[in-house]
Subunit: 361 residues, 2 copies
Amino acid sequence: VRITSERIDLVKRHPLTISRGTSAGSTNVVVSVEHEGVVGIGEMAPSEVTEDSAASAESSVAEWVSVLEPLHPTDTQRIESLLGPVGRTGSAIRAALDMACFDWLGKRADLPVWRILGLDPTRIVPTSLTIGINPTEVIRERVPEILTRTKARVLKVKLGQPAGIEADQAMFTVVQESARSVDVAEPAWRVDANCGWTLADAKTMIPWLADRGVTYVEQPLAEGDDDSLLSLFRSSELPIYADESIHSASDVANLADRLHGVNLKLMKCGGITGALRIINTARAHGLSVMIGCMGESSLAISAGAQIGSLCDHIDLDSHLNLLNDPFVGATYTDGRVLPNDLAGLGVRWAPAESTNQNEVA
Amino acid sequence: VRITSERIDLVKRHPLTISRGTSAGSTNVVVSVEHEGVVGIGEMAPSEVTEDSAASAESSVAEWVSVLEPLHPTDTQRIESLLGPVGRTGSAIRAALDMACFDWLGKRADLPVWRILGLDPTRIVPTSLTIGINPTEVIRERVPEILTRTKARVLKVKLGQPAGIEADQAMFTVVQESARSVDVAEPAWRVDANCGWTLADAKTMIPWLADRGVTYVEQPLAEGDDDSLLSLFRSSELPIYADESIHSASDVANLADRLHGVNLKLMKCGGITGALRIINTARAHGLSVMIGCMGESSLAISAGAQIGSLCDHIDLDSHLNLLNDPFVGATYTDGRVLPNDLAGLGVRWAPAESTNQNEVA
C-alpha cells in the first residue's frame, strides 16, 4: 500500500457555535491509499473530542508509510494489530485510513461499499440540520435561511450554553418561532447539549423540551459523569443519547444500562470498522443508534452515508454548511443524505472552480 | 436471485456421542443462490439445538423462492427485513443462505471472503478435535487413532454423561492416558459438558479438570439456568464458555456478566452476518470468542474458517470426521483449518468418486 496525505481547507457558510466554542472552518486531511493501480480516499476532520489536527494527522501518516507498505488495503486486522487499537484520541486519522481502505475495496470489487456491507439505502431516514448557539437576532435569520435552503425535515438545536438554561430556553423558543414563520412543514426537533448541563439543568430542561415536541436529547451531561447519567436515565421523559461519552463499542457495553441510544461518528470510532462494532453492540443491548459527523466534507459524509441504513437517526449535515466542499459524493435528496451507486464510497473531487456541489436546487 | 436446494447425506467416520445422544451422520442441505451468472453456495447442518432438519430447510427455501427473486445476493438487510430476524430455531437454514450470499459476493468481487472482511488468516490458531462420550475400550482405540490421523494440537472432550460425574472422571482419565500413550506432543485440553452438569457437578468437576490441565469448560450447565451460571462464574477456577446459551448477540449482552467466553456457531446465529454481531458484542464486553460447528461438511466449515482469525479458539473439526465430504475447501495444515485464497468461500464440489479430501497425509 502506498499512502499519502494532503490538506484541504474548508470554510463554513455559517460559523458553528456549540457549548465548547465556535468553528468557522477547518483544515482537514485527505488520505489516499494506492495498490494495484486503484486509489481509495478517506478524510480526517479535526476535533477537540478526538484531539486530532491536520498536523497530528500528517505526522501519523508519515509514521505509517513504511508500516503499511507491505500490506494490502483490506488488511484491516493486520493494520489494527500494527497500529494498535483505535484510542479515544487520534481516532480521526484512523477513520480516514479505514474509509480509504473501504473505498479501495469497493473500487477493486466494482461495488458500492453499502452493497458490500449488504445494506439497503432506501431505508435511510432524513438527516437533521444543526442550529448552533447564536444570539436571538442571528437565530431569526439563520433558521429560515437553513430551512428554506435545505428543506430540512429535522432540526437539531445546540444548547448547553455557558450562559445557562434560561438562555437555552430563550434561544430554543426563538428557534421554534423562527421555524414556524417559514412556509415549510414543521421539522422534527432534537436537542444536543454537548456536555453543557448539570444534572439539575438536565432535569429541568428535559421536561421543558418534551413539552415543546423535542424527541430526544443528546449528551446532556459531561463525559464521565456516569452516576448522574444513571440518575437522569431513570427519570427522563425523553430518550437520552450519548455522543462524547461513546467512542468505542466498549463504551456502549459500559453505558448500555443508562442510555437509550448512541451517536456514533466515524471520526470518534476510527471509521466504518469501528462503527459496525458500535452498531452491533448497541443493537445487542436494544439501544437506538444515530450517526453524526464532525466538520466533514462530502468525502467523510459519503462514508457515513454508506452505513446510514443501519441507523435510526441521521445527523450528516456538515457538508451542507460548507462554502467550498472539495468533493462530490452522497446526494442530498428529499432531506436524505444518500450514497450513490458508484463503486467504493462513490466520491470524486469536485471540478476545479466549481461552486459548492451541495447547493440544494 | 434464483435460490435452489439439494440434500447431501454425510456419513461420520466415528459416530459422535454427546450428553444428549449419538449421531452417525446427517442429511444436510446445500443452498445455491444464482445471480448474473455467478453461483454462491452455503450449507445447513441439522441440529436439535436449532431445530433444523433437511425437511424444514427445504420447506424454508421453497417459501423463500418468490420472496428473494427480486433481490440482489448482497441484500442482507432487506433479506433480514423480509424473512425476519434470525431466531433460536430455524437459524441453520438462514446460515446456509447467508453464507451462500457471502460466497456470491466474494466470487463477484473476485476476492476471498476473509479478504473482503479485512481479516488475516495467518493468525488462525489450531482447531480442537472432539472426543465423544464412549466406553473405555472405545476411548483406548479412538484417541490414538484421532491423534495419529489428525496430528491434533487440541482435544475437546465431551463430558456431562447421564451416568454422572464419576463416569466423566473415569472417561477423562482414560482419554488422557490414551493420548499420552501416543508418540505425539500432548495436546491442549478442553472439556464440553453440553448442559450435562448440575451446579454441584460443575463445582466438583471444574477444580478436578483444572488439576488435569484443562484450559476451559464449555456449557457446564443447562441453557437458561443463568442464576447457577452466575454462581459458578464467581467461583470457577477455569474460564466458562457458553454454547447452547448463546444464539445471538443479544444473548451475549444478557450473559456477559457471567461468562468468560462464547462459542459461536454459524448454524446457531444465522451465518457470518450473525457471527460478526456476536464477535463485536463479545469483544465490547471483553469476552473471549471461540467458533464451533455442528455436523458440517467442508462447505460450512470453510465459511467458519473465513472468520477464524477473529476467534481465540477454534473448534472446526466435523469435516475431519466424515467419510464422504462432498466438498473441498479450507485446508487442514499443521492442525489449523485455514481458508484458501480462492474467491468467495473457496469451496468446490469434490471430484465424483473421490475419497475423502480431508485425509491428512
